[in-house]
Symmetry: C2
Subunit: 396 residues, 2 copies
């Protein structure tokens, strides 16, 4: 009978999602506070709180508030109620993580895994690795509420399928969500890797920032755009493709896209490596540029700083057009010290309007190479913990 009352309590609690979204900031709150915040009667509130606690999404906090009489129990969002499987699949290597509902990693692994092995081999490995990671933290698939995947190419976010990816042979139109969810039994969300990195960085600053740009400077150059807290994907999901913007006075540089003077062909990691090799340095891929910079190679440092200036020029346009309050620079090259950022800052602050730059932050990625996997988790969490989804889960 107690069992059935609990289920009944759950069955009547549409609107619990709104309650959860209040509690998701992590602050412990008493019933009285929650009743005031929601505007519900205490009885109604208790009903919905019960529903959320029955789902283990909310738990009573240990420390109670003493005010002379009976102490009020406080309640907080229970981050560890569910697990998220997050994957950031790059061109050559991958990072997988099992996180809780606050993106905190419980187990994580990076590995060499070339994306060009094709979808089935890569995703089979991904499932196996997720199983191992779950074992490491002693949890099971039953606790997993969703899977987020970032891919290094254009993804039609509605269906979660890659479309005409230039560097992912065999992946075109492969139905990643169906394939994975059939085998893992949880909803699967897929997006472009840069969008996901932007989302990951946004998560950390979401209370202060509404509009931001995440710039990834790796082998190529791309950016993720966040407008009013949502990813702007554009009409064909091709937004943020700043790598193929033509920059002035480089008309002789030919890009792999066939055009001339592309930012990527001027300031991308691949281009830097090629140019340094021509100058006699030992560099073939963007990682080598990072190593040279870390070793204090003057030519490499100068090249990276100059790349920062070229990228900064494009970003100065972006600042005037988009007026973000934050630009985060990430990717391999950005992680090779402050040189890239220095170049970026130098140009943006001299070129953009004061109104747009006076409150503009320009920072390196806080999450570094974890931005992608964090963003994949954020994508899942935002979806699974959205009020209407929670209502449905609680009512069912």
């Amino acid at each position: 009978m107690t069992e059935s009352t609990l289920i009944d309590a759950g069955g009547s609690a549409a609107g619990a999602g709104a309650l959860l979204s209040i509690l998701r900031d992590g602050r412990p709150r008493t019933r009285a506070e929650l009743a005031q915040l929601t505007g519900w009667a205490r009885s109604t509130l208790s009903l919905r709180l019960d529903a959320l606690m029955h789902q283990r999404l909310v738990a009573p906090t240990d420390d109670a508030i003493h005010s002379g009489g009976r102490p009020a129990t406080t309640f907080t969002f229970n981050q560890s109620a569910r697990l998220v499987l997050a994957a950031d699949l790059g061109v050559t290597h991958a990072r997988l993580a099992v996180t809780d509902l606050a993106t905190i990693p419980l187990a994580e692994r990076t590995a060499e895994m070339p994306i060009d092995r094709g979808p089935e081999p890569v995703l089979t490995w991904l499932i196996e690795t997720f199983r191992q990671l779950l074992g490491e933290c002693g949890r099971s698939l039953a606790d997993v509420c969703g899977i987020g995947v970032g891919l290094p190419g254009p993804v039609e976010h509605g269906t979660g399928t890659p479309v005409n990816p230039p560097i992912m042979p065999g992946w075109d139109r492969f139905a990643v969500p169906q394939w994975l969810s059939a085998r893992l039994g949880a909803p699967v969300l897929v997006d472009n890797d840069v969008n996901i990195m932007a989302l990951g960085e946004y998560w950390a600053v979401r209370s202060q920032v509404q509009h931001m740009i995440f710039v990834k400077v790796g082998t190529g150059v791309g950016c993720g755009i966040i407008s009013e807290g949502r990813i702007h994907r554009g009409a064909q999901g091709a937004a943020g493709d700043i790598g193929h913007i033509r920059v002035p006075s480089f008309e002789e540089v030919v890009c792999r896209c066939g055009n001339i003077g592309c930012l990527e062909a001027v300031a991308g990691g691949g281009a830097l490596a090629a140019r340094l090799r021509e100058a006699g340095e030992d560099a073939s891929v963007s990682r080598d540029v990072v190593d040279l910079v870390r070793a204090g190679n003057v030519r490499a440092v100068q090249a990276v700083r100059q790349a920062g200036r070229e990228i900064g020029m494009v970003l100065a346009w972006v600042v005037n057009f988009f007026n973000p309050s934050l630009i985060v620079v990430g990717g391999d090259i950005a992680e090779a010290g402050e040189h890239l950022l220095a170049g970026v800052r130098e140009v943006i602050y001299s070129r953009s309007l004061p109104l747009a730059t006076q409150h503009l932050g320009i920072l390196t990625s806080e999450l570094g190479d974890r931005a992608g996997v964090t963003g994949a988790a954020v994508m899942v969490i935002e979806h699974v913990l959205a009020p209407d989804v929670v209502d449905q889960a609680v009512t069912a």
Copy 2:
């Protein structure tokens, strides 16, 4: 008693807003169709439909659907249930209109009205003119559900007040909404004129287009940005300021903003006029440039086309970054024939990525100099007919 039943029907109909947003597409629908679309019981649906009909926001359509039995009455959104007062205040002249809830103008007037007369004189004239226009269409202030105003400078949209406008002496921090709504007794929404023009153009294509850019080429150059059907204003409300992006190879041109090589100083109507005058033509303001082009003056036509190319260069960057599905070009200079658009198209299609341009439309403004006033009406309608606002109005 019938009266009170009607009011009771209204009093219980939270959720009517959702129903209205279905009907707002203008298609007549039967009760059965609406019940299916909303998922409500027919009785519930009738209740809410009654509430909307009591507010005169929905009306039965004349033609019924015959299917063997009793014919089903169909219902449509009643555009003429309320009026909107829309104003597009420019630097030197203004356009005011009284429109219905589908932005159709019922009375309209343009007049010389320099914005630098200051807020109180201009707004007093505005109120008087609105009163006259209402008289012309035989309606009263009681039917007005909102007032929309576009101003030629930066506006903090949340409060509706201009902030540091460069060309509106006396307007800084003037509380336009309070001043007007105290005198007209309806909600007042204020925004930047370019944002409003973008909204006006968006309205006509909203069923096919999610992301678009409206470029205004008048004395200056600016653009309005629409992402997922919403205006993107940016962190300081300064988004879309492409007029002060630095374009290559014009480092000698000094802009009124103090910087060098600004797009506006190269391709704006004011700059074109100045350059044509230097060449011996009779031009002092951007309107004169339009007149020269219309008269077939070769120098003027070439100047405008070249301006189109310069603007197109910036827009090519914008296309790569933002990936809109539509670019609309408006403003004085754009209305001087297809010359500007030709220059814009030329550069965008040659410079941007095929993925981003293959489904990209580049058009001149359909609404022309009515874009602003239409957008002002749209701003009001979107606000007043938003589901939650309708629910509140119906329940009250």
